[in-house]
Amino acid sequence: MISDKPSQPGIFRGLYATTRRDLLLAWKRPGDILNPLFFFAMVCTLFPLAVGPSPEQLIFFGPGVLWVAALLATLLSLNTLFLSDHEDGSLEQLLLSAQPLPVLALGKTLAHWLISGLPLVIISPLLAMTYHLSATVVEVLMLTLFLGTICLSLLGSIGAALTVGLHRGTALLSLLILPLAMPVLLLGANTVSLAADNDPYATGIWALGAYAVAALSLAPYATAAALRISNE
């Protein structure tokens, strides 16, 4: 990370280095990747146990349950986003780096999404099958989760940056992020429901895509500002 050369590496090097570092760290501690996945699978198991196994009902509320579970699993993994870096002091080094902080924050968020968001998207069809969702609905579910987890990781990075170093961080993080995440959940889950009812669902996909693009371009700045505030 720290280079002795006077020449400044480009921002893509910074982005790549931060992402790579976080991915490597996650690779050494596979629990960080697996725990949210297990959590996701277990929440999805809870609902049929609580409500009953009738297929009509499962098809009816399946999209909502899968989406809520994905939201909660993302939330669960968020508080580790900056925590270990804060504890061992490497976060301060990131702040001191000559690289623009929003880019580094984006790198860390990207790594977080690759670690926690993408695996959710990949195993979601498996769980969707147990809810008797049809193949086309599963495709829509994967697409919305793909876009939605990007939005959630980016939104969550703002919350994680604001609460890093606070004692009651985890509960507070949920309180901050859940209201912000409600539109994402609402767009995602209802788009899948529309697809399940054979209704036109393109609006939801476009809206989620727009949200993801907006979050991708704005959230890193908010995260960077929040990190500076939390670490002054």
Partner: protein, 250 residues
């Protein structure tokens, strides 16, 4: 012009100015509310569809509008505080959040009381406004929770300002997404958009209530900011002089 702003930003100056301002806001506000309440509840004719139940709008509309206005205050205050490092703006944000949450709660409460005779339920998820107000209430809770979790005031100010600014972008998204969502689920529209023009006997009390509530909100806010400033500046000289001064001498 600029000297006015600089003076306004100075806590002791604001503290004195607010003391003068409060009665000028509160008294006309209360008079307007008294006029609006009497004329709204007793003089205005019944609604041809909703009967007497419509009269709750005299409380509901002002609180609902102020619940969003308070959020704007919070976000703009946070923005000014972050950009120009104006401490008073942060104090406004800290002072307005509980007020905004209270108005949001009142708007939800009156909306739900109105919904009971009109829709037959206390709560209707299909109504986009109720849902987005509820999310707004949660946003206020998050803001206040973040503020109270950080011990250092300067840090709490900046962190919550970032949250308020992120939230203000989100409020717009919440509004449109909830509207889209409820259009999927709502069978029929319960209220027509931009219905018939209001009878002046109904309209004037409503306008009086809106203006009166706004003035009252201003007075409450000024009072809360005053307390907030006093608390934040508790170690400064002017506060010590103020507290130690003989009673009556300001």
């Amino acid at each position: 012009m600029w000297t006015f702003f600089h003076k306004l930003a100075s806590p002791p100056h604001f503290y004195r100015l607010a003391a003068i301002l409060i009665p000028w806001l509160a008294i006309p506000g209360l008079l307007l509310i008294a006029y609006g309440t009497y004329n709204g509840l007793f003089v205005a004719p019944e609604d041809y569809q909703q009967g007497d139940a419509f009269r709750i709008i005299y409380v509901h509309v002002p609180t609902a509008y102020l619940s969003m206005m308070a959020y704007m205050f919070m976000a703009v205050g946070g923005g000014i505080g972050l950009i120009w490092r104006m401490k008073l703006a942060h104090a406004v944000g800290a002072a307005v959040a509980p007020l905004g949450a209270a108005f949001t709660f009142l708007a939800l409460l009156t909306g739900s009381i109105w919904g009971r005779p009109m829709w037959g339920t206390w709560w209707e998820w299909g109504d986009p406004r109720l849902t987005s107000q509820l999310i707004l209430l949660f946003l206020y809770f998050g803001y206040m929770a973040l503020r109270s979790a950080i011990d250092d005031t300067a840090k709490a100010d900046k962190a919550s300002a970032v949250l308020a600014l992120v939230g203000v972008v989100n409020v717009v998204i919440v509004h449109y997404s909830v509207e889209w969502w409820s259009s999927l689920h709502q069978g029929q529209t319960l209220l027509k958009k931009g219905g018939p023009a209001m009878d002046p006997a109904m309209l004037y009390p409503l306008l009086a209530m809106i203006l009166g509530f706004t003035l009252l909100f201003g007075a409450l806010l000024a009072r809360r900011v005053r307390t907030e400033v006093l608390f934040r500046e508790r170690r400064s000289r002017w506060v010590r002089e103020l507290v130690l001064a003989p009673i009556g001498g300001r």
